[in-house]
């Protein structure tokens, strides 16, 4: 079954059609990428899927349930969690606590539990702590657990945001330009982590400008331009698609270089 399905999704801002009648499906397995030139409507598309903006028309279903226009927190509870193009960490909290906030949906403890700490709440807190530390180890941040999040270098903040989103236990994770601002090594490490996330059963949908990352990481690519879907297929198919080449370069040259392997 498909994890996510978009049918004729459209979003207008006044006279501008930012997302125009876009339909595609995200299968449960592997990594799907949305690419397109700047201003093609990729982030708007993510905002529509994650509930941060209601679509003007169309239908979005997640695991068969209609989530069109549902509030973002409800969509997250359903198992669809996103990250942001500009990192939004909780800067005053420690690295570990950022991931623990990510674990919010895994816990039940409320105000009563905070004040009286019954045994059940203590067990839950220990479980969240262990889970958060596992995720930090996964993201290579275990040594910095107690640092304030704001003190991390930029590349590590990106990793932390990824670990925090994974802490919510999503079945589909939306990554909005996760490699933005990363150097080549960091980007390669990110690519490996995204593959591991997908291999462990979480579907990944990512927006990305870094073509090397997309070509190395994604099984399927959806290309958008001026709000419309102009192509869809494997990275190899998309790379030689004339419409894609035209959108990126406006000439007959190949749109993307062969990725370096490894």
């Amino acid at each position: 079954m498909n994890r996510l399905r978009l049918e004729g999704v459209t979003r207008r801002f006044g006279g501008l059609v930012a997302v125009d009648d876009v339909s595609f499906e995200v299968p449960a397995d592997g990594v799907t990428a949305v690419i397109g030139p700047n201003g093609a409507g990729k982030t708007t598309l993510f905002n529509l899927i994650s509930g941060f903006l209601p679509p003007s028309a169309g239908r979005i279903t997640f695991e068969g349930n209609d989530i069109t226009g549902r509030p973002p927190a409800e969509i997250a509870r359903a198992g669809l969690v996103r990250t942001f193009q500009l990192v939004k960490l909780f800067e005053d909290l420690s690295v570990l606590d950022n991931v623990k906030v990510g674990c919010h949906l895994q816990g039940r403890a409320g105000l009563f539990a905070a004040l009286f700490r019954p045994a059940s709440a203590r067990r839950e807190e220990q479980a969240l702590d262990a889970r958060a530390r596992d995720l930090l180890a996964f993201a290579g941040l275990a040594a910095m657990a107690d640092e304030p999040a704001a003190a991390l270098p930029y590349g590590r903040q990106r990793m932390l945001e990824l670990a925090r989103a994974m802490a919510a236990g999503p079945r589909l994770i939306l990554l909005d330009e996760p490699a933005a601002g990363l150097n080549t090594e960091e980007s390669a490490a990110l690519s490996r982590i995204i593959r591991r996330i997908a291999d462990e059963g979480t579907s990944v949908l990512l927006i990305e400008h870094d073509m090397t990352l997309v070509m190395n990481t994604a099984e399927r690519v959806v290309v958008v331009d001026f709000g419309r879907k102009i192509a869809q297929g494997t990275p190899a198919e998309v790379r030689v698609d004339p419409a894609v080449i035209a959108a990126y370069l406006g000439t007959g040259k190949p749109a993307m270089q062969e990725p370096p392997h490894g």
Partner: protein
């Protein structure tokens, strides 16, 4: 991934001991007042009542990073409920206090549900209006509040035959209440609930993307804050034995904001430290006579220059403890 040396802070352990300093300071001040009694005990008693109020204000403004200029409204509800029920209707102080807190929390729910849709300056304006409206009600509803005349003859706090009448007894009672409130704030800080509030403070978008019901957490923080305010209002009328509209006016808003920022917004110890310092400073400068207010103002400015995140933050391992 780039290899960067892991950032460690070797001075963490000493900092933990330093973290006790705000508590030792508070204990010393209360202990001094206990020994000396009289006027010192009165000043410190008021400071402790403010500490209850500011601890609640801090849950909403520090932990959840919202803003309210209208928490005095809930102190007024708690205070007047206690005053009217005990002085005019012969209730015991404890049931009157409990009902007052419940009424304040209910009022906070009614106004908070729509008002918390506002953000930033608009929320500030909206909450300011709540305080002003409540003030007008306490002035105008003379059949119950006796207007500017106020209500006198409010009995001291007590349960059944046991009454707290002496200076020192009041100090003990208030110290216990403040300790319980501060303990509660500390537990909230280090809990799933408290982390969700911090997330709302840090980035509402990121919090909502992680499934946190932002509006609900804001509302619960507002209700808690109102409950603390009502508790403080009720304690005040029982300690003083008298209440009038001026007690819960704009002056209270200004003083409690000063306490929150001087003590350290978002910290656990900050509200108590701030309440004590801001209450004691004017007394310390009494010898300056005509220049007392000038010295007080200068001291506040210096505090905010050298401890911009509040006194308690100087002793916290991070910006927030």
């Amino acid at each position: 991934m780039t290899i960067s040396p892991s950032i460690t802070s070797p001075e963490r352990r000493p900092i933990r001991l330093v973290g006790l300093l705000p508590w030792l300071f508070a204990a010393a001040v209360v202990g001094y007042a206990m020994v000396v009694g009289g006027y010192a005990a009165t000043v410190v008693s008021f400071a402790l009542i403010y500490a209850v109020f500011v601890t609640g204000l801090n849950l909403f403004m520090g932990f959840a990073a919202q803003v309210s200029f209208g928490q005095n409204a809930f102190a007024a509800i708690g205070g007047y409920m206690s005053a009217v029920l005990t002085a005019s209707h012969g209730w015991g102080p404890l049931p009157a206090m409990v009902l007052g807190i419940a009424a304040a929390v209910l009022a906070a729910a009614i106004v908070g549900f729509p008002a918390l849709r506002l953000k930033g300056h608009y929320l500030a304006m909206g909450t300011l209006a709540i305080g002003l409206i409540t003030y007008e009600i306490t002035v105008e509803w003379q059949s119950v509040t006796q207007g500017y005349m106020g209500i006198s003859g409010i009995p001291p706090f007590g349960i059944g035959p046991w009454e707290v009448t002496s200076d020192r007894g009041q100090l003990v009672l208030l110290s216990l209440v403040v300790a319980a409130c501060t303990f509660a704030a500390g537990r909230i800080r280090r809990s799933r609930f408290g982390r969700a509030l911090s997330a709302v403070a840090g980035s509402e978008e990121a919090a909502t993307a992680l499934g946190i019901a932002v509006a609900r957490y804001k509302l619960v923080a507002f209700l808690l804050s109102a409950g603390f305010a009502a508790l403080a209002g009720s304690l005040f009328v029982h300690i003083v034995g008298y209440v009038s509209p001026e007690v819960f006016g704009l002056h209270m808003v200004i003083v409690t904001f000063t306490m929150l920022y001087v003590g350290g917004i978002g910290t656990v110890a900050g509200p108590l430290v701030g309440a004590l310092i801001v209450s004691l400073l004017p007394e310390t400068f009494r010898a300056f006579k005509d220049y007392q207010d000038l010295a007080y103002g200068a001291a506040l400015i210096l505090l905010l220059i050298y401890a911009p995140r509040g006194l308690a933050s100087l002793f916290a391992p991070r910006g927030r403890s």
